[in-house]
Subunit: 293 residues, 2 copies
DNA sequence: CCTTCCCATAAAGGAGCTCTATATCATGAT
DNA sequence: ATCATGATATAGAGCTCCTTTATGGGAAGG
């Protein structure tokens, strides 16, 4: 079999037309080059070079071989360049999965910074419910997912908490009077409730909170976006259940009022999930560092 | 720098998805493969494989690299195939130079045999005068040339005699009576002479023969082809100067008659000329062997 | 004729690949 | 839980074969 390193020597020798010069380019000695070429000629059982007094010249067969070796090496060089680009983040891609609201309210500033710092890294976002995100992480189609915790334990996934989220009930002007005193779950369930659509982890979370207190609830308005819930609450349609950080501005302005449940709503965590047996790509690793992961 | 042999190991490992299996394919041991991959990952300073319990799987970066390495190796393999074809004469070309008459009367049967034996070797013929042929050999555009000897000594060319050629004077029916007795050069010069055009080595040869005997000659008919000279001689146009081997049939039939010069015409040699500092291509070497070179 | 440039060869030395042996870890069955 | 299986990682010794140094020889050019 042909030792591949011979090809590199062959290539230099062919292009230089001079074994001594080729040796210099390769930082080895001339006998080394002679030896390698000789090995190669024996392996192929044909002469590759004519030895002349002023150097070497390819034989007919050698010329043919050069055509292939040249192209082959050009490809390998391109590959090494590509690797370098991936390494230095002047190429490659970052594939993130999360829900729309996490993108908008949490991930966006990081993505913005990342993109400005590494404009050549293509960013691909995919939204979906927690279950869809974890599935994509598992199959490897995204680098990591940003999800609400807790989530079902999966032996193939690693989950790291990166921040906590405090949910709250908010209502418009009509609820100003309710904001002062604690309300039972039963009291709250009597208000028109604005909730995220079923299937979302937030919806499941609040339903469990009520259920733990033996209160059955029914949503008056179901929407797919937290932003829309907030809008409807401001318009007086009822009481919305949303993360408090999403409505700090409205609470300060007084356009929304927070209702205090007698039993505190536990904080929820937001986490990043990755595949346990996969180390992150260079692009993903850099992003995770930004999140002080 | 990346040792090229690593790429081969990388390729097998990537395709097998299993270092142990790759090791088997390469007839080396598993630790060898582990070691090589590790070297490679260190050289590129990035992970190329995810190590899993059931084998290995390419990382994002590894997948990128594979694209290049795969193609590169496909090219090298194609190159090796090509070399094998050249070696086994199922490819390549044979480039021969000679005068038209040498092709027709000498080389043709060999070319025919050669082509039947190695139908995949492309045969390229180029005709010309001796000086043109030798020039092409020197510049490397043909593998060898078939020429009339003697020729000017050239330090870059090797010349081997492969056969001798006896020229003779022949005439048609009208010369039957002259065939019995020796004729002086002077006698012969009086006949209408059918000669090859000036510039050919044959023409120069016969002119020198006459000149050595202080006889000036003038051609009555000058043609570029020995075959035509023979035709005209048969038609009675005069005495043609041609190689005897070209007219053995006519002499036997009695359609042509040979004139015997008092001073014998020296035999001429036909030789093969090749470049001194170049070994013949595989295709050419095989042909030269056929000529019992 | 002598110098210069280049390739081939021989022999010694050593870098690093490869091997054997063993550890470790994950998975799946008992 | 425990064990068997199959995979990769690691350590250390061994040896292959590449590289080097030293030298010879041939061709071209002044």
């Amino acid at each position: 079999m042909i030792h591949l390193e011979w090809y590199r020597i062959f290539l230099h020798a062919a292009k230089a037309g001079n074994l001594t010069k080729a040796a210099g380019e390769l930082y080895i000695t001339q006998p080394s080059v002679s030896y390698a070429i000789k090995q190669m000629e024996q392996a192929l059982s044909m002469k590759l070079f004519h030895r002349q007094s002023k150097g070497v010249e390819l034989t007919t067969e050698g010329k043919q071989l050069l055509l292939y070796v040249e192209q082959s090496f050009a490809l390998l060089e391109a590959g090494e360049k590509k690797m370098s680009a991936l390494k230095h983040l002047t190429g490659g891609e970052l594939r993130v999965g999360a829900s729309d609201s996490l993108f908008k309210h949490f991930l966006f500033p990081y993505l913005d910074t990342y993109h400005k710092q590494y404009p050549d890294v293509r960013i691909r976002l995919s939204h979906g419910k927690t279950s869809e995100i974890t599935a994509r992480v598992k199959e490897g189609s995204i680098d990591f997912g940003l999800i609400h915790l807790p989530t079902a334990d999966d032996p193939h996934l690693d989950v790291h908490t990166i921040m906590t989220l405090q949910d709250c009930f908010v209502g418009g002007e009509a609820y100003r009077d309710q904001a002062g005193h604690p309300l039972s779950a039963q009291d709250i369930s009597q208000f028109p409730l604005l909730l995220l659509s079923p299937g979302s982890s937030t919806r499941r979370f609040i339903e469990q909170w009520f259920a733990a207190q033996d209160v059955a609830i029914e949503a008056d308005i179901e929407l797919g976006s937290i932003d829309l819930l907030i809008e409807f609450a401001k318009l007086g349609f009822g009481v919305a259940f949303v993360p408090r950080s999403y409505v700090v501005k409205e609470l300060a302005e007084g356009t929304l009022h927070e209702l205090k449940p007698a039993k505190a709503i536990p904080a929820r965590s937001i986490g990043i999930t990755t595949r346990r047996d996969m180390t992150a790509s260079v692009a993903a690793a850099k992003f995770l560092v930004m999140l002080s992961f």
